[in-house]
Amino acid sequence: MIFVKTQLPIIVTFVSAFIVVASYYLDIQAWKTFAAELLRWNVVLAAFALALGIGGIVRLHWGRIARRERTAPYSIICLLSLALFLVVGLAQTTRGKAYQWLWDYILLPVQATSYATTFFFITSAAYRAFRIRNSYTVVLMVSAILMMLRVGFFASVLPFTPAVSAWVWDIPTTAGMRAVTIGAALSLVGNSFRIIVGLERGHLGGGE
């Protein structure tokens, strides 16, 4: 039984990975179709895993409400908002009129605003980070400023900036980023391989 408990997840990992990896090398249509099918199952499993995650958050807020903590009103808001989306969504699917309204006027503005807050953060990050401490930070700062001078109004006042920044972008930037990509490629292979053959198993817990 202990064998089944510890080894079965590893065997499943290996077999499913083997099917997908081999589908890339083998020219057998049925195999490819089956591998594609397997990848679609991930979506289903992820959806089930959602229930676990949501369960955790509901338990957290429910606890706060039950204990009548100072923050309980916020927890009530959270659970009400969840219930609203859940009920409307299950009643009429995401294509329904009411759900579309919820999406347009609640989810969309908060998502967009949440992302737009990066506007503030990047300002203070630029202010704090681009201090000349050593020769590396000089390079960092100069190339950042060049890129900002590249577009719009500046390009017409300082006509050399588009060409210079295009050079910075096409040559050293592309080359530097390519190195990061190439440098990581074999690490990805190594790490994935160790996981596939079960040599790395922290994510499956420690035995018992």
Partner: protein, 252 residues
Amino acid sequence: MAFNKNVYFHLFVLVAFIATFYYTANRFRRGGKFSIRPLDAIPKMEEAVGRATEMGRPVHFSYGMGAFDAQYFAAFTLLEYAAGLCAKYDTRLIISIYLPEVVPMTEEVVRKAYTDAGKIESYRPDDIRFWGGSHNPAMIGLISREQVAANFMIGSLFHESILGIEAAARNNAIQVMGTANTHQLPFIAAGCDAIFIGAEMFAAAAHLQPNPVRVGSVFAEDWLTRLMVLLMAIGAVLATFGNTSLSALLKR
């Protein structure tokens, strides 16, 4: 056997990696000596947890908002390390999660770290928070309310990196981040106390637990990367003289 076309070099890389890996891993199993360039981000993580402990404030960890990919695997290893430190020092660890499918894996990783430290009774599943799409506001709210003193974000980072950096900077937290997503490297390089750049977060595993498998893997990866550097150099020289056979070979 019906083989696909244009995958031969691809297959060569895979087979070469596996062969080199088994060779190097075996060499270290028999007690070979090795040395790997140190990474400053690892001791920084310990320092951060230590300081959070002194201040009596929690530690925050996030994988970022990327799709499920290999960076999560590297992050699991570093999370295990961070959780181990938090268990050892009795410091609270709060984890923000964007993807549902990694919730169970995160639980396993953290529980294992607490079990290994002999502190399973202080493991708090409630502090593993799944936020889904609301990850970012929930994270900055959490960082500022809980006065987080150490902020680790490791994985497939997107714009949440800079949100985490600025929110935690308001608490003067020590921050360690790592990602292979080139679009976020500038921000973590500019804003953190120490970072893992791309491959470094995978190599960290070999530092944390220098067992033959992990060290052997780093060596095998390195040797193949050297081979690729050599091929690129030779290919460029050949191309200069009008010979593109090497780049053609790669695409076979």
